[in-house]
Symmetry: C2
Subunit: 435 residues, 2 copies
């Protein structure tokens, strides 16, 4: 084989020749963002019990104090703090035990100077008392007395009204992705429903005369891998995928499917036909729809270099390469940030580990290179082994990998044994040491 087939990352099915201006990823996103007139605006109310993972469309302000009454944070005795001053195990203070707080009730008992009332964690503080002595710092005395072995300050071991949440305070801000503890908090605040940003509707269209949905029953046809992959990835991201099917490599059909599709979605993803060959009709079809059309065509990344980014009718269209590995990497690096931008949220960083490379790897000058690796954890620590198949036509390379090593634009590569950051999408494989 000659030099070309060994050029690192040269695995996108097209050469760079037709792409005169390759745009770095961050610049590509900046260009698209600045051409989007609006962020996502559709909102809906959902029950709090099914709000997990949704994005708040407005600040949540509490209409209640939490707790709504003073509570003990300890098992012990509710007292007047002043009564305990100077108490030690050697010179305890003796208080009259005048009753017990029943949890889950409003206590009728009242604490006066020289008195103590038994209370459990979470119990409602009886009137008069201002602190709780832990049971471990007390001793049962004789004839209805309790010995206090340590002093407490006012408010000690007591949760004040509104200490957790103050009535009128902002608890959760617009743009928050709701976590389990947030669902708990909203429930605690007595909310039945909450206003969230509607899920983004993302159209997924595959182009390619050779494609067929399963089962593939025509000779020469192949299954469409990109739609099921992208539809799953969109679900994982909390979007509503809209399956727009397969269209042949025919300009009129692509044009008409895009034109109809863009009306019904917030974002359009279209795979294949994005390069500069005669069958690459997607960019032309996009440009014919409306201004500004294609804003970026060719991104300085490998794989997924031929990716195009467009805005039509104020909505983004991402023209993804047809090779499955390219389409998925472009999804991660361009579509995910685009979704986050429209929702007005930030993304969590990906889980990562430091690992030693099991062999030398090369990047490509001016390109951000996404190297698929398989990370194992052994007695020697994390080892990252590049997955052999380098072509982005080879989907199994993404199935066998558990992480990416990202080689920046200005780095030629990494040496055998060098420690690198690996972004993990599966857990590292644990390998037992040889006996």
């Amino acid at each position: 084989m000659n030099r070309k087939s060994h050029a690192p990352g040269d695995d996108h099915g097209v050469s760079d020749v037709g792409f005169k201006n390759l745009t770095p990823i961050s610049e590509a996103l900046r260009i698209v963002f600045s051409n989007l007139p609006n962020k996502a605006t559709a909102v809906e109310k959902v029950p709090v019990s099914s709000a997990l993972g949704r994005i708040l469309s407005e600040d949540v302000i509490s209409e209640v104090n939490i707790p709504s009454f003073e509570k003990s944070t300890k098992d012990g005795f509710a007292v007047i703090a002043e009564d305990t001053h100077g108490a030690t195990p050697r010179s305890p203070v003796f208080l009259r035990a005048v009753g017990a707080v029943q949890i889950g009730t409003i206590p009728e008992v009242r604490v006066a100077r020289g008195e103590a009332v038994s209370i459990v964690t979470g119990g409602n503080m009886p009137k008069g008392a201002n602190a709780v002595v832990m049971v471990e710092d007390t001793r049962r005395g004789e004839e209805g007395t309790v010995q206090i072995l340590d002093e407490v300050s006012a408010a000690e071991n007591v949760t004040r009204i509104g200490e957790d949440v103050k009535k009128g305070s902002t608890i959760l801000r617009r743009g928050t992705r709701l976590l389990p503890q947030d669902v708990g908090m909203l429930t605690c605040m007595g909310l039945g429903q909450v206003a969230v940003i509607s899920k983004l509707r993302v159209g997924v269209l595959s182009t390619g005369t050779e494609l067929q949905s399963q089962p593939v029953d025509s000779l020469g046809k192949i299954p469409d891998v990109n739609r099921p992959t992208l539809i799953s990835a969109l679900r994982e991201l909390g979007c509503e995928p809209i399956d727009l099917g397969i269209v042949a490599d025919d300009y009129d059909q692509i044009h008409s499917r895009l034109e109809q599709g863009i009306k019904t979605v917030d974002i359009m993803l279209v795979t294949a036909g994005t390069s500069v060959g005669p069958a690459d009709l997607v960019p032309k079809a996009i440009n014919s729809l409306a201004k500004p059309g294609m804003l970026v065509h060719g991104v300085a990344m490998r794989p997924a270099m031929p990716t195009g980014l467009a805005v039509v009718d104020g909505k983004p269209i991402v023209s993804l390469p047809g090779f499955p590995v390219s389409a998925y990497v472009a999804f991660l690096e361009l579509v995910q940030p685009l979704v986050a931008y429209l929702l007005g949220i930030d993304l969590l960083p990906r889980p990562a580990v430091k690992a030693k490379l099991s062999s030398r790897v090369t990047g490509a000058h001016g390109f951000r290179t996404y190297l698929r690796v398989h990370v194992t954890l052994s007695d020697e620590g994390y080892i990252a082994e590049p997955v052999k198949a380098s072509s982005s036509a080879i989907l199994s390379s993404l199935v066998h990998a558990n992480g990416f090593v990202i080689i920046p634009e200005d780095i030629g590569g990494y040496e055998d044994g060098q420690e690198v950051d690996v972004e993990l999408f599966r857990p590292p494989e644990r390998r037992q040491a040889a006996p």
Copy 2:
């Protein structure tokens, strides 16, 4: 206030006095695992289109070759490699252009020595040809000829039959959590359904006479925060939560609810009543059910120290503290690994960043301390600010935090300005520099 209320992490509503043997987290898990007779065994078939996130219950072996025919990976000309030897731009090789491969069809054209057939990426290789010359390395010649400007080797720019997936090879292993690319791959292999481990059924029972489901309409009652939080956390983890409701602090009622509940679930979570006070009836009720009962009571962590771990009828019961922050931290550190163990999977590490602490923090000797922090990203990098409320009764501390700083058992604390690892559960807040 005296020393006690400032003891770091002393926020679990009970003192350590009643807990004589605190077990480190890893040891607690080891003890429970070694008392579980079986891992999860129930399996079911699900459509591949809804298999995202599910765990494979058996290896997936391909019954097909992918691709099923030889394909071009470039736009160009299908040729016999030997015909191109010695070709350069200055001394091109001239071949007869004898047709074109229509994508998505079985080509009828055949390539003989001295001939070339035009082909696009993904096109089915015509008989006779064994390599593809990229279009950029060709020039249209006159009268049905094409000039080849660079030589190619046999198999160059061609994907072989089975190069992605070989018939009979194992593509995905038992225990794999299915990612979007796996759904794509299974679709590509022509599978309609896939065998997965049934979702673990996890019972969630709250104990506490003071608790009421929303709306809270009785004086002295408080809303139950733990059930909605844990139910959401279980959903996020891919389990099937079973809401077992609220039971009062009554031994017989707790016993009977646990006895009935454990028959219908794979794991039981029960909150509150797990300490050593008079109202702490859960451990006793668990021990009365069946052997071995409570295996661990008191874990060397803060918050969540009073957590108990039991096995009854071969199923784990986790007795979680009632304070919401404690219950949630115990869920993350004990229930998640337990679910992973029963499913036979590993967990991904949590996303993390290095951040500078905005103030000194203290741990507690012998305890693993989970410090809630709020991380911001400014020009100075990541700054982690401890969330003020230290009590684990204060749920808002988990709502306002975006990460944990974990202080190991043998570390006293960290200094103001020290760089620490923060495990993030929300994205860092981006803060603009002052103008």
